[in-house]
Amino acid sequence: GQQVMQIPQYQHVQEGEDFTTYCNSSTTLSNIQWYKQRPGGHPVFLIQLVKSGEVKKQKRLTFQFGEAKKNSSLHITATQTTDVGTYFCAVGSGNTPLVFGKGTRLSVIA
């Protein structure tokens, strides 16, 4: 099945700093999804990217899908303490289940 590598595993930032997490696949992806899991919570869908080179924004979050559809990134501008959690990318197509990356755990120091 499809696999994705996600880096970094951990990221500690000062509040107000930017944060980026990356997902990479060895195969071309039909789409990629991003989820956020707050500490003690469950994964919550953030967004899906489908098109080559696609860029989507949600307030301070910017999501990109690579031109070759093999990588994706999530960038948070000016982090806040509410951004704390683990960010996962997930891939799956057709009837295949979503497979999650290992996640990037974000800590924000106030």
Binding site: Y35, P43, V44, V50, G92, G94, N95, L98, F100
Partner: protein, 114 residues
């Protein structure tokens, strides 16, 4: 807003016992999943269920595990003869359809095997 509900929220069981984790997916969704997350680790796929049968399962989902949709609403995960290493958070998820739809996760059941 529709949501996936899971019960119980926390289950403590003795090693070797059987447990049943319950889920009520979103009513019009067609795909159902169980995932497992060992503390601090990734969300691992266990099994997917579509059209009243298992559509895919991972290496983790061996003979110790089974799933059932006993009626039109419930979706259960049975773990037989639990082991210490089965201790984890178990998430149920559902999707309207496959492919390009988002997965809605329940709050999870924290299973502790002692």
């Amino acid at each position: 807003e529709p949501e996936v509900t899971q019960t119980p929220s926390h289950q403590v069981t003795q090693m070797g016992q059987e447990v049943i984790l319950r889920c009520v997916p979103i009513s019009n969704h067609l795909y159902f999943y169980w995932y497992r997350q060992i503390l601090g680790q990734k969300v691992e796929f266990l099994v997917s269920f579509y059209n009243n049968e298992i559509s895919e399962k991972s290496e983790i989902f061996d003979d110790q595990f089974s799933v059932e949709r006993p009626d039109g609403s419930n979706f259960t995960l049975k773990i037989r003869s639990t082991k210490l290493e089965d201790s984890a958070m178990y998430f149920c998820a559902s999707r309207l359809r496959g492919g390009d739809t988002e997965a809605f996760f329940g709050q999870g059941t924290r299973l502790t095997v002692v």
